[in-house]
Subunit: 150 residues, 2 copies
DNA sequence: TTTTTTGCAAATGATTTGCACTCCG
DNA sequence: CGGAGTGCAAATCATTTGCAAAAAA
């Protein structure tokens, strides 16, 4: 857990970014909240961190998240139900399953996507950097709520 | 081409939506511009259609697109370079390859995703409705521009 | 020192909304 | 007819930006 944070800080430094208090606090937050019911928004992260010893502004949260997304350490997810971006610490490869009713985002990793980047490169000539898979549907709770189950 | 439009209109009607001039004009536009270099934004669609015999407002373009997305006839894509949503007529299953430098979106279909929905359902208990795959990288033109190639 | 990063507040701009009017069914 | 759909303009609100101050390297 703790070494994930350090690993990320090293990766950031290797990419030419400076190590700031704010960045490590945000990274730590993301790593520790990895399994939250709904992946956090920038605003949520800000709300949870603004009162920590090391002050953090909302703009800094946005800046840091952008940096982390560019460094591939974090994934940005649009659940399309609340108009906000959600962020997910990207430890191991996985895809997202998103509830179109309540917006809940859960992770899954039982489908192999290994060949996708090379096939995409082959089909388009692009220099592939990353990929993202999103599946949309109704979560079990909303199935009940909507009378689709039980 | 023309029957694609009619098919879509039938699908809309079957889903309980009314057949309006504006909707058919927008659908026709999307079908005919299927292979555009960059998939259109709501604003672009509006600009191209506002002077047609049947007036169309920007709000209606947004409304119609939302309807079409919900009906699975259209896919919304965020290229993350211009802050706008892009829309793609979803005739046959395919995935998108997006340039992280210029935002260009191209289609590819050489990777099988057939098993994804059932595996996602199995992993999460969600009632799967749709899925979307996005690959990010640098397009050939930008590779040259950025001195990464040639 | 020198450059990056941060914080604050104001600006941006895509998308949404309220309401009166239209028109499909 | 009646309610869904539309147009217009104004409102919303997540995200971005400019600039001065702070702190990495």
């Amino acid at each position: 857990m703790e070494n994930k944070v350090e690993h990320a800080l090293n990766a950031l430094q290797a990419a030419g970014f400076r190590l700031t208090k704010q960045r490590s606090v945000i990274i730590k937050y993301l790593v520790e909240n990895r399994m939250f019911p709904t992946h956090p928004t920038a605003e949520a992260i800000y709300e949870d961190l603004k009162d920590t010893p090391d002050q953090i502004s909302l703009a800094t949260v946005y800046n840091t998240l952008e940096t982390l997304v560019n460094t591939k350490l974090v994934l940005a997810i649009d659940n399309k139900t609340d108009g906000k971006m959600h962020y997910d610490w990207f430890g191991t490869p996985h895809y997202h399953v998103i509830c179109t009713n309540c917006g809940k985002i859960v992770d899954a990793n039982n489908f192999s996507l290994h060949e996708l980047p090379s096939l995409a490169a082959q089909a388009t000539g692009y220099l592939i950097g990353s990929y993202q898979v999103e599946v949309r549907g109704i979560c079990p709770e909303c199935q009940v709520k909507l009378g689709l189950k039980k």
